[in-house]
């Protein structure tokens, strides 16, 4: 089968590939063997399922992810536990079958989609809660469990996870480990996802099972796994430290006319409020406007959630309200803030009510450079007429994830690609000023290769050891599918065409 797939690698017609393989009988052997240890219903070559599973969160047209060599998997397998996962991965390894680990597929930028076809290993069935220990305040779970299911279950014990993504309604625990896990709910207060991990079970690309904890002295550490997009293996189980459910939740929010004052207040909430916010955000009025009927009138909205015991939240609110006086903030309607918090998960998606094709990029910006980055964003955006909006959430100590949305439609291709060009220019700006992008995936790897060469080189050392054939979650971090110069050329052309078409009007 390996031989056949290698021969057919360059054949763009996937169905022909499947046919030829089938005739030779090798694909049938792979499936049959897998079905011996994984429920036959959870091994699928249904073409509709493959089409659906070979993509991730995006409203962009499919050619945006179909550039990646063979974007479509040829089989999906859903193992139910670590042992069957290990056996499956080992089998794929021996057959040199490319593997892509997937759960909810909500990380974007093709973080969980195939780049070389092969097998999608869907982790959703590895979702058991093995143990909740209210004394030790720990939980041991299958990495395929959704955050919402985990949150609901933990709440029965008066517990809650420390850090989780705003996409918690659908995303899974393993995904937040593999993607940065550095910004989200609870992160400003409790630290990153990585910091909540006590230990995890990793299945290496060759199928070997490794248990890795904070104290592990082996070849691979927790720091290697967190935020590396699964290039070293699949996280099947994880033990997390958790916190207790608090009894008080307070939300504060203020509007600012001045960007500088808004950002200074945002930074002050992190550095000068004794008990850090549970969640902290700054958004442009446009961001609010693109999804809401009524929204604050000031240009910038800074809002925070404090979640703790009543005296603590009360103190935090008092300090926050004192601080805002220094920055000319104007109070925002409490009901608006409550609604924002209640539907926090929807915030970044509801903007899709305004646009069929939302394009966005996520920047990882140091708070020290947040103002200069925003100023650059505003200056550049003034050159264009398309809708753009920024939304920032606080991440690990001293950093923020700035998400910039461009709202366009593929039926207006010049504008569409110019929006992407705009985001691309900002990406280069971010890297040049010493910052980075937040989610890398397949799509953004070429930036790392250009601007973070040392980091890539470091990661490559371990990757070459664990996966020399590069068949496990390929084209992430180490190897790029695209080249910077090609992208730059494409976007420069788009900007030129945009200028010309705009001048004509």
């Amino acid at each position: 089968m390996n031989e056949t797939i290698t021969k057919e690698k360059n054949n763009e017609n996937i169905s022909q590939t499947s046919e030829k393989v089938k005739k030779k009988g090798r694909k049938r052997n792979f499936e049959e063997i897998v079905k011996e240890f994984i429920s036959p219903y959870h091994v699928s070559t249904n073409k509709y399922e493959l089409e659906s599973a070979s993509a991730d969160l995006t409203s962009l047209p499919s050619y945006h992810y179909k550039f990646k060599k063979i974007y479509l998997a040829s089989v999906i397998v859903r193992p139910a536990d670590t042992e069957s996962l290990s056996r499956l991965i080992k089998m794929c390894w021996e057959l040199s079958l490319p593997m892509t680990i997937r759960a909810a597929g909500t990380s974007c930028f093709s973080s969980a989609t195939p780049s070389k076809g092969g097998v999608i290993i869907d982790m959703r069935r590895i979702n058991k809660i093995e143990d909740i220990d209210p004394e030790k305040m720990t939980v041991k779970v299958g990495a395929g469990i959704s955050w919402l299911n985990l949150i609901e279950k933990l709440s029965d014990y008066g517990l809650a996870p420390k850090a989780y993504p705003t996409s918690f309604k659908t995303s899974c625990v393993g995904g937040f480990i593999a993607t940065p896990g550095r910004a989200g709910i609870g992160v400003p207060k409790y630290g990153t996802m990585a910091e909540s991990i006590i230990s995890l079970t990793l299945v290496l690309p060759n199928g070997k099972i490794e248990n890795i904890s904070r104290d592990s002295k082996g070849e691979i550490s927790l720091d290697d796994i967190a935020g590396t997009y699964g290039i070293y293996g699949a996280v099947s189980e994880v033990e997390l430290s958790v916190t207790d459910l608090k009894t008080s939740l307070e939300i504060i929010g203020f509007g600012f006319s001045s960007l500088e004052e808004a950002i200074n207040y945002y930074k002050a909430l992190i550095s000068q409020v004794p008990d850090k916010p549970f969640f902290l955000s700054i958004s442009e009025r446009k961001f609010e406007q693109y999804s809401h009927v009524n929204f604050p009138s000031q240009e910038w909205l800074v809002w925070a959630v404090f979640y703790d015991d009543p005296e603590v939240t009360s103190r935090s609110v008092s300090v926050s309200e004192e601080l805002v006086l220094k920055f000319n903030g104007v109070g925002v309607d409490k009901s608006y803030l409550k609604e924002k918090w209640r539907d926090i998960s929807d915030a970044e998606v509801a903007i899709g009510r305004t646009s069929r094709n939302i394009i966005f990029q996520e920047y990882w910006i140091s708070n020290d450079r947040l103002l200069s980055f925003y100023e650059s964003y505003i200056k550049r955006s003034s050159k264009y007429k398309f809708p753009i909006a920024a939304y920032t959430i606080s991440g690990e100590e001293g950093w923020s994830r700035v998400k910039i949305f461009g709202l366009s439609d593929i039926t207006r291709p010049i504008e569409f690609f110019t929006v992407k060009a705009f985001l691309h220019d900002l990406s280069i700006k971010a890297f040049k000023q010493g910052d980075s992008l937040y989610t890398i995936g397949i799509v953004n790897t070429f930036y790392l290769r250009k601007f973070k060469r040392e980091f890539v080189k470091q990661r490559k050392v371990l990757k070459d050891k664990l996966d020399p054939k590069d068949i496990f979650n390929s084209y992430r971090i180490i190897k790029a599918r695209m080249k910077l110069w090609r992208i730059s050329l494409l976007f420069t052309t788009a900007k030129l065409l945009y200028k010309i078409s705009f001048k004509k009007k």
């Binding site: 509709y48 659906s52 859903r78 309604k169 998960s345 009510r353």
Partner: protein
């Protein structure tokens, strides 16, 4: 007597955001209407951002884990078909299209406001037009079109249930008399015949109640009688067409719609009462669309009608089998067709809470976030009786999904410590009753008509 669960726990302190986000539907009042609906856009699926929020609420997906079994995954297939990235395969496409209970929970949580019910019913219509249909659907369709019911029963047996209910029998006889009178007057070319309205209230029984759940029809008839209503039934009643609408056979339902609509108009009633939520939603949504607005008669589910009458007549209600000090502990299951389809959540609750001798406890997932019982969308009809080794056959797996779905709902009911699970839909009642029986569950399952029939209404 067990104590119902009414504990106020720490989660109640946090009324917004996590951890209760999965239990409460997103607020929509302050969100803009989706601007991206183009004039020529028939369906909303191309606005799907594939955020996956529909996954969490999809009971089928959470059992099967298949990417085609939730709204976002199905939307991706629709987009791929549109772009011709993938070929239309009559056999392979069927599970993706029909393994959906059309419960509407995904519609509730969709952040970009896609009407998933419309999208997927239209998907089924398109698929049927292109010659793809589950095998059982042909038989179902033929039964409805030939026998006016989906059960292959004789049309002439539709009102056999009357023998079990005095009120029902009288209603039937009244209706026959009225029909004869109208016919006579029409025959005499009395143009005012149709303007006379001898009866105000008609009861549309529906196929499932008439042929499979006579106890519900009888109970409803008795309740209307207790409330002092001289109602009629519709002797020429045919299937409302709900099954056809849900399974992509909308065009074939239109004759039924025309017949039933004209039948009710000719009867002269101004209020039509339904005990079946499926019939009620079909009339409310599809029939009104057919006539382009006002039907000329008002539609009520039994729960709404009973509540209306109790309020108008200032009646009190007492459950005769228990007392105020020893109430029957119940929990209420929101049928998808009454709740999410028609936004009727509070009237049934208000009615139940008026009953002395009953205490209502809510399940964790209720109102617009209520879990489906597993019976809707044609899934039970198309896949319900198929045997097969679990795990080896996708059809059998669908059946397994359904079993798990209704087991999950019953489990949630048990968590409230209620003695009885009450619903207001014959499909829900049957499905949950089935699993309660199979599991020898301590919780009883009842339709609200049966509960009301055990009540007395007094001044």
């Amino acid at each position: 007597m067990s104590e119902g669960k009414e504990k106020k726990d720490i989660r109640d302190v946090v009324t917004t955001g996590p951890p209760v986000a999965g239990l409460v539907s997103p607020s929509r009042e302050n969100l803009i209407e989706p601007k991206t609906k183009k004039k020529e856009e028939k369906f909303g699926y191309d606005r799907c951002t594939h955020c996956g929020y529909c996954r969490h609420v999809c009971k089928v997906y959470n059992t099967s884990w298949s990417e085609t079994d939730y709204a976002g995954g199905r939307n991706r297939i629709l987009k791929a078909l549109d772009r011709k990235d993938i070929k239309f395969d009559k056999e392979e496409i069927i599970p993706s299209v029909y393994r959906c209970m059309l419960c509407g929970n995904c519609k509730v949580v969709c952040p970009v406001g896609i009407d998933t019910l419309e999208v997927f019913q239209n998907f089924r219509k398109e698929v049927v037009k292109r010659g793809a249909m589950p095998k059982k659907l042909t038989g179902l369709r033929n039964s409805i079109l030939n026998n006016n019911n989906p059960f292959l029963e004789q049309h002439t047996d539709r009102f056999n249930w009357c023998e079990g209910s005095e009120d029902g029998k009288k209603a039937y006889e009244r209706a026959k008399k009225d029909l004869a009178a109208i016919d006579d007057k029409v025959a005499a070319k009395d143009l005012d015949a149709r303007k006379e309205k001898p009866r105000k209230v008609g009861y549309f029984v529906g196929c499932t109640s008439a042929y499979r759940n006579k106890e519900l029809v009888n109970a409803t008839s008795e309740v209307l009688g207790k409330l002092g209503i001289e109602f009629v039934v519709f002797p020429e009643e045919r299937c409302c067409g709900s099954v056809l609408f849900r399974t992509g056979l909308e065009d074939e339902a239109l004759d039924l719609v025309k017949h039933n609509y004209e039948m009710i108009r000719n009867s002269g009633v101004s209020e039509v009462v339904f005990s079946c939520s499926g019939c009620f939603s079909t009339f409310t949504l599809e029939y009104t669309k057919y006539v382009g607005g006002n039907l000329g008669f008002d539609l009520f589910h039994l729960t709404q009608y009973a509540l209306k009458l109790v309020k108008e007549k200032k009646l009190k209600i007492r459950y005769t089998k228990r007392s105020k000090d020893n109430p029957l502990l119940i929990t209420y299951h929101d049928p998808c067709h009454l709740g999410r389809y028609c936004n009727v959540y509070e009237e049934p609750r208000e009615l139940l809470q008026m009953i002395e001798g009953i205490k209502l406890f809510e399940m964790k997932h209720n109102r617009d976030m209520s879990w489906c019982c597993g019976a809707g969308g044609g899934v039970k009809a198309l896949y319900g009786d198929v045997a097969g080794e679990i795990g080896r056959d996708r059809i059998a797996e669908t059946r397994t999904c359904m079993v798990r779905i209704r087991e999950d709902r019953l489990k949630e009911a048990l968590e409230t410590n209620a003695e009885v699970l009450v619903s207001s839909c014959v499909f829900c009642k049957n499905n949950l009753f089935q699993v309660a029986n199979e599991d020898n569950s301590p919780i009883k399952v009842m339709d609200i008509s049966q509960l009301l029939n055990d009540c007395e209404f007094y001044l």
